[in-house]
């Protein structure tokens, strides 16, 4: 087994993103916390990337289709050395290149996102590009579950199966919530696994907070069976902060001084617990 303490890395990133949101006085807190472990699994355990050479031609590609969860993503890119950590405190402020949603001006970020439903089709293009140019890089895309209501997601799903993109992995941050409440109340998604299977994907369900589990699952993927891979990662929106967990209104929210202190304390506790 690896000696990397992924849990510790994820806890540190969660604390950083909360501090960043507190400083910026804006941020999509709930979804940033639900996706942290998935992003850590990809960036520290799976993807072949070079922070010193962000545009390296053979790098694995990652698309944050749920672009509003940019906070944790930026903390990871800074920690890996794509840009200085001090810059995190400029997030979404006037003049900063760390805009409130991902832009390709930031080293390490592949595409501009934030409008939901663009990421999977863009990732399809990247995966096709790899096949076309004979490169071995893999493409990963993370989507929200509410995002799946966008028709363009299913257009991309069809294209990925049609072109037999076994070099493509899509992950759904299945936290069960979108802005106006439960996904099953707003626009039912279930039977979600069966839907993706019917679209021609190889579908896995996983615990979206088990970083080592996600890493070993992705390492086990066959790359030659002609099927795109889907991981339905079951997560908790607001993960790690007691008063944010599963609370829809923390989709977007800035902690007060006391809330920040409690959130940081909560995170220390859970990390110790594992």
């Amino acid at each position: 087994m690896s000696t990397t303490n992924y849990r510790r890395i994820a806890t540190e990133r969660r604390k950083e993103l909360l501090n960043m949101i507190y400083e910026a006085k804006t941020g999509h807190t709930g979804g940033a916390l639900s996706s942290t472990d998935i992003l850590v699994a990809l960036h520290y355990g799976i993807m072949n990337i070079k922070p010193s050479e962000p545009k390296w031609a053979d790098r694995d590609r990652f698309v944050l289709s749920k672009g509003h969860s940019v906070e944790g993503y930026l903390c990871i890119l800074a920690d890996l050395g794509f840009f200085p950590k001090a810059e995190l405190m400029t997030f979404s402020k006037y003049g900063s290149r760390l805009i409130g949603h991902p832009t390709n001006k930031v080293p390490g970020i592949e595409i501009c996102s934030g409008a939901l439903g663009h990421g999977l089709p863009a990732a399809v293009g990247m995966a096709l590009g790899a096949k076309k140019s004979g490169r071995a890089y893999k493409t990963y895309v993370l989507m929200g579950d509410g995002e799946l209501a966008e028709g363009s997601v299913w257009e991309g799903a069809m294209a990925a199966a049609n072109y037999e993109l076994d070099n493509l992995t899509a992950i759904i941050d299945r936290n069960g919530l979108q802005i106006s409440g439960s996904t099953e109340d707003v626009m039912k998604l279930e039977q979600l696994k069966a839907k993706w299977e019917a679209f021609g994907w190889q579908v896995f369900e996983a615990d979206g907070h088990d970083i080592e589990g996600l890493i070993s699952l992705m390492k086990s993927f066959p790359q030659t069976n002609g099927k795109p891979h889907m991981i339905i990662a079951n997560t908790t929106k607001g993960k790690g902060v007691s008063f944010m967990e599963n609370v829809a209104k923390w989709h977007h929210g800035v902690p007060s001084d006391e809330q920040l202190a409690q959130a940081l304390a909560d995170l220390d506790k859970t990390e110790v617990g594992k």
């Binding site: 006037y94 003049g95 805009i99 949603h101 028709g151 979108q178 802005i179 707003v186 626009m187």
Partner: protein, 313 residues
């Protein structure tokens, strides 16, 4: 004391008010009811409110279906995802069929601030303006917002209401008539006419005040309807003041500035300057910081007025 209210809250309240009298009104949203403020209607009339999910194409085409069924749908999402994402649905399923659908899109312009350029809709007026038969209303305060929502009911066919996010002090007169297509002249002057829309109307008034202290007399026109444009008013202002400055929280391409330019072309040689976003995307920052950078301020409007006056022959 002037009342301060967010234009989107005024929009939501207006929907709830007309909902009481007009049982044919239904409201559709796409997971943003607490941002667009259609939640105010939804709380009162849950049986006439539909959350279509994060699916704007679905939202627009479903609205057309409601209209075909004899209902009057008011559709809301952010301007970026309504006018932008679902443009072709609006064009072919709503506008082309001249359906009675009202589009109330919020978070227009630079006011989404920190969210950055991907969410800042600076082209929605342009997109809606090229659609034949589309009426475009851009209210400047909450008093006007309520009048606009009511007025839209009397217009058969599609209407776009641009719903700004910020809280603004109400300054228009509740007694003033709101007639779509007829501009309201807020201040009469003789050296230059400022034609403004939406949030830029207060900035225009500020500019006129500043100019008057410097001995310059400016007219201020509240152009609350971009389409059909009050061309008569534009031409009269050009004739009377001899210089025109437009001001909008939108690209200078395709919006109010373009509409006024198209009206003046070939009919007036008056110097003409457009204040607005100069063919650039937005970025992150507080709305006030962005308004300064992009020149959407009373002081820049005043400067541009002086430039226009200096160009008079």
């Amino acid at each position: 004391m002037a009342e301060s209210k967010s234009l989107r809250v005024a929009y939501g309240e207006a929907l709830a008010e007309i909902g009481a009298e007009h049982k044919e009104v239904v409201v559709l949203d796409a997971d943003l009811a607490h941002a667009t403020m259609t939640a105010i209607f939804a709380d009162k009339y849950p049986e006439r409110f539909y959350n279509m999910g994060i699916a704007e194409a679905n939202l627009m085409c479903a609205a057309s279906g409601f209209a075909y069924s004899g209902l009057t749908p008011f559709v809301s999402t952010f301007a970026m995802f309504g006018a932008g994402r679902a443009y072709e649905m609006i064009r072919n399923s709503i506008s082309y069929c001249n359906l009675n659908v009202k589009l109330g899109f919020s978070h227009s312009g630079l006011c989404v601030g920190e969210d950055g350029g991907s969410h800042q809709s600076i082209e929605d007026i342009a997109l809606m303006r090229v659609l034949p038969g589309m009426t475009i209303l851009v209210p400047c305060d909450s008093i006007e917002m309520k009048k606009a929502v009511r007025a839209s009911l009397d217009i058969p066919g599609p209407v776009y209401i641009r719903v700004a996010r910020p809280v603004v002090d109400s300054f228009t007169n509740p007694e003033d008539e709101f007639i779509p297509g007829k501009a309201n002249i807020l201040r009469e002057g003789s050296d230059v006419a400022i034609i403004a829309t939406g949030l830029m109307v207060t900035e225009a008034l500020e500019a006129a005040e500043k100019l008057s202290k410097e001995g310059v007399s400016a007219s201020v026109v509240n152009m609350h309807t971009i389409k059909p444009l009050d061309e008569k008013c534009v031409l009269e202002m050009a004739e009377k003041c001899g210089a025109i400055v437009t001001a909008e929280e939108h690209s200078i391409i395709g919006g109010l500035g373009s509409a006024v330019a198209e009206t003046l072309a070939g009919k007036s040689a008056a110097p003409f300057i457009r204040v607005g976003i100069q063919d650039k995307f937005g970025k992150s920052g507080k709305p006030s910081e962005l308004f300064c950078e992009y020149g959407l301020t009373g002081s820049n409007i005043a400067d541009q007025c002086k430039k226009a006056i200096a160009q008079k022959k």
